[in-house]
């Protein structure tokens, strides 16, 4: 136990400030007790009575300010007094007359003491710089911007890891911290399931399913799309996993990503192995054996992952409405399609939604093309021209350079939809409509005129155009999900109840009993 005192001669502070100083001094790291008061005999007696007397204290005069601290860490004494001195010089906050304009992270974080997160969505060329500035100021970072180099991402994540801060991104569009949705996120209830996600719409899908099953999200940490690449090594996913391990509110952990680089998958599964909490691992198209061996719960599809999570959180499977695939519907649609109509065209705003649907199709079909296919053989030659079964992710860089994201500006997808609808070889067009913060205020509404037009044209041509729509959202979202769904149904669109079902339905519609 170390006692140390300092005297500030002839120092007068008003009582409110003294109170504040005293309180804040007691909160300094390593301070067991701190006392700040005027140097009167009586106050000295109090100090002596609690065993903190010293010769400095005795020498103080009635006009002097005494500062005395007790600490168990003698090496910290200098730092403590430095911090106390800072308390004296920090300006007392006054209510602003006019709104203060903050031009930089440095300025804002200095003057807004309680700030703890920076969200950055500026042009990629400047984004990394701002993110580093935020980390330097001890702020957690969500980096929405893309077009940040992989070297910059690595430097940022290493820096954040050292400081113990969140570095979500780059290219991170979704997070939910303390039940506040950041950037693109749905309003869901707070609960006991924590998610670390390397995919935005994937995370949105899971959060929405979990909410629908009556459960909730404790925290949703985004890592950005490249986190599980070889170069980055899963830094944020591992740190996120560790944080959820520590978090008392989180009882079940979920990890979501596209298939990680092999070396990274090994690291992540190692962490899963050491986890005391149940971990559901949904790596789209991942390795079931490896996951199970690591003691994780493997999920192949998104709804499946959500079901596993809520069961681990205490749900009873029998009591869940899992919306199994509607077989009679499948048969009905198959019957309506002509022989010429063979192909699926998936037009998606959400990357992972597109991925999931595409993977479902690829399980049974082997001519599936896309702008996001990893297999070069099945990458579209011309992104603007579909080939056989085609799945388009309109949120991908090829479509968003210089244009806003499709969740904000739907025009590119509308144009493509009309094109696909006029193609007589098309059997089903599948589309997602994402609700929630950051999304269009009426995603279905802007598509409706085109849908109606397409349906009318198809009818005139004497063919049935199957349009499959999936609305991602909850009843708490700003956009009215019931209304959105109803509008689609009224226009003759078949509704899918989840991302998982969308892919499966689309695939089943075109199979017609044979699998080419």
């Amino acid at each position: 136990m170390t006692i140390q005192a300092k005297i500030k001669k002839n120092t007068y502070f008003d009582s409110v400030s003294l109170m504040s100083l005293s309180t804040r001094a007691n909160l300094i790291e390593d301070v067991k007790q701190a006392m700040i008061g005027m140097g009167t005999d009586m106050n000295k007696e109090v100090i002596r009575n609690v065993g903190m007397g010293s010769k400095e204290i005795e020498a103080a005069g009635t006009g002097d300010l005494m500062i005395t601290i007790e600490t168990d860490n003698p090496d910290a004494v200098d730092t403590i007094f430095e911090e106390i001195d800072l308390l004296f010089t920090t300006k007392v906050k006054k209510p602003q007359k006019g709104a203060t304009v903050y031009k930089s992270i440095n300025q804002a974080s200095q003057e807004i003491e309680e700030s703890n997160v920076a969200i950055i969505s500026v042009n990629g060329s400047f984004a990394a710089r701002e993110a580093q500035e935020a980390l330097d100021k001890d702020l957690h970072v969500m980096l929405f911007s893309d077009n940040v180099s992989i070297e910059e991402e690595l430097a940022l994540k290493k820096s954040a890891h050292e400081k113990g801060l969140l570095m979500m991104g780059p290219d991170c569009g979704t997070a939910i911290i303390n039940n506040i949705g950041l950037c693109f996120a749905n309003k869901v209830r707070k609960g006991t399931i924590g998610i670390v996600a390397a995919s935005g719409t994937g995370a949105q899908e899971l959060s929405v399913r979990i909410h629908e099953f009556g459960y909730g999200i404790s925290q949703l940490i985004g890592t950005g799309g490249r986190d599980l690449s070889e170069a980055i090594g899963g830094i944020m996913m591992l740190d996120g996993l560790a944080a959820l391990e520590e978090d008392e509110e989180t009882k079940v952990i979920m990890l979501i990503s596209k298939p990680p680089a092999k070396s990274v998958e090994i690291k992540v599964l190692e962490a899963v192995k050491n986890s005391k909490k149940p971990v559901v691992v949904y790596f789209l198209g991942g390795d079931e054996e490896a996951v199970t061996k690591a003691g994780g719960h493997y999920a192949k599809r998104s709804k499946e992952a959500a079901i596993k999570a809520v069961i681990l959180a205490g749900a009873k499977e029998e009591e869940l409405d899992t919306h199994p695939l509607n077989i009679p519907l499948v048969e009905e649609v198959r019957a309506k399609l002509s022989d010429e109509q063979k192909y699926i065209r998936g037009l998606f705003c959400g990357g992972t939604l597109c991925d999931e649907a595409m993977y479902a199709a690829m399980e049974k079909l082997d001519n599936v093309y896309s702008n996001i296919q990893t297999n070069p053989e099945f990458k579209l030659v011309d992104n603007n021209k579909s080939q056989e079964h085609t799945f388009i992710d309109f949120g991908s860089d090829e479509f968003t350079s210089g244009k806003p994201h499709p969740m904000i500006d739907p025009s590119t997808r509308i144009d493509r939809f009309l094109k696909e609808a006029a193609d007589p070889e098309v059997a089903v067009i599948a589309m997602d409509f994402v609700l929630g913060y950051g999304s269009h205020e009426d995603p279905v509404g802007v598509m409706l005129p085109a849908i109606k037009e397409a349906k009318e044209q198809a009818e005139k041509d004497g063919r049935h155009l199957e349009i499959l729509g999936y609305v991602l959202g909850t009843e708490l979202d700003v956009q009215d999900i019931k209304e959105q769904t109803q509008k689609l149904m009224d226009a003759g669109v078949t509704i899918s109840s989840s991302s998982q079902n969308t892919g499966l339905l689309a695939r089943e519609f075109v199979l017609k009993g044979d699998s080419k």
Partner: protein, 303 residues
């Protein structure tokens, strides 16, 4: 140099404006600046502050932009108070203020009721931790401070209750143990004594040698606490206090009106961090003592 008008000046302050008198700035706060004129403390207050002894209230919202530092020199004249380069105050616009403490009639039964009400407010809502019923103190300091304040104020009151001129020594000793005790700019013990002094000055009570007691307390305070707190004690000893407190004392004597009492008390409790609450506590305890004394006198006279 900022030019401002004075709004109100206390009579004592006015007395100092004879010829060019030099002063030094003692301490600077957001809403007040204390100056030393030949070892006496005077206060320059912004328009947020009520009139008070030795105080000049000026037409300025606060002193933040003035950037005045302690130890700067200034001077007073009949028409101006000037801190050269920073502030020039025109005195000709000021109205003169003097503290008017009423003479209590201790027979009004509502006084007792009002006192109870006010005390209850303080123990349930007041800002002084040591007076609160539920005491969630944090540090060993706070605990010890609370213990000492409670013990010593109780001792002081009990010593008064023993009441005679003989016990005056004991009462003085008890009071001395409160001077300088407490963490604020004006220590809690000092504020309590200020309250007691004001309460006693509302009545020409003879149940103890007021004059001697007051003299001793003021003398002790001069050397055992800081000059700002000492000044408050000094003025309280001559029955002078700031407007807000005078108003509070007045409402206690006025006819039954719970809201008035609560409101006036609330304004007093806004003073400082816990100073107002502690001064009010002193006032209430002092008046209670006087009431008890009156009762006893009545009883003895009946016999």
């Amino acid at each position: 140099m900022k030019q401002v008008n004075a709004l109100s000046i206390d009579k004592q302050f006015k007395e100092k404006m004879r010829s060019k008198t030099v002063f030094t700035v003692h301490s600077v706060f957001e809403r007040t600046i204390n100056i030393l004129i030949e070892n006496d403390l005077f206060t320059l207050a912004c328009d947020q502050i009520d009139s008070a002894p030795a105080t000049l209230v000026i037409d300025i919202p606060d002193f933040n932009e003035c950037q005045i530092k302690a130890n700067t020199q200034g001077f007073l004249s009949l028409t101006t108070v000037e801190i050269t380069g920073y502030l020039a105050i025109n005195l000709t616009t000021a109205s003169i203020w003097e503290c008017q403490l009423i003479d209590f009639s201790l027979h009004h039964h509502h006084l007792g009721k009002n006192i109870s009400l006010a005390m209850q407010e303080i123990t349930s809502k007041g800002n002084a931790k040591w007076l609160r019923k539920e005491n969630s103190t944090l540090t060993a300091f706070d605990k010890e401070m609370t213990r000492m304040l409670t013990e010593r104020t109780t001792n002081l009151i009990e010593s008064f209750q023993k009441n005679t001129n003989d016990t005056i020594e004991e009462t003085i000793q008890c009071a001395k143990k409160l001077i300088g005790l407490g963490q604020g700019l004006t220590p809690s013990g000092d504020d309590f004594l200020v309250g007691l002094l004001l309460a006693f000055s509302t009545s020409n009570t003879t149940f103890f040698n007021q004059e001697k007691w007051r003299e001793q307390i003021v003398k002790e305070a001069k050397s055992h606490t800081n000059i700002i707190s000492y000044s408050a004690i000094k003025y309280a000893a001559s029955g002078q206090t700031r407007e807000t407190i005078a108003l509070f004392i007045e409402t206690l004597d006025a006819k039954e009106n719970d809201e008035q009492v609560k409101l006036a008390l609330a304004n007093v409790m806004k003073i400082g961090s816990s100073s107002g609450t502690e001064m009010a506590w002193g006032i209430l305890n002092g008046l209670t003592l006087l009431l008890k004394q009156e009762e006893q006198n009545d009883n003895t006279s009946k016999n």
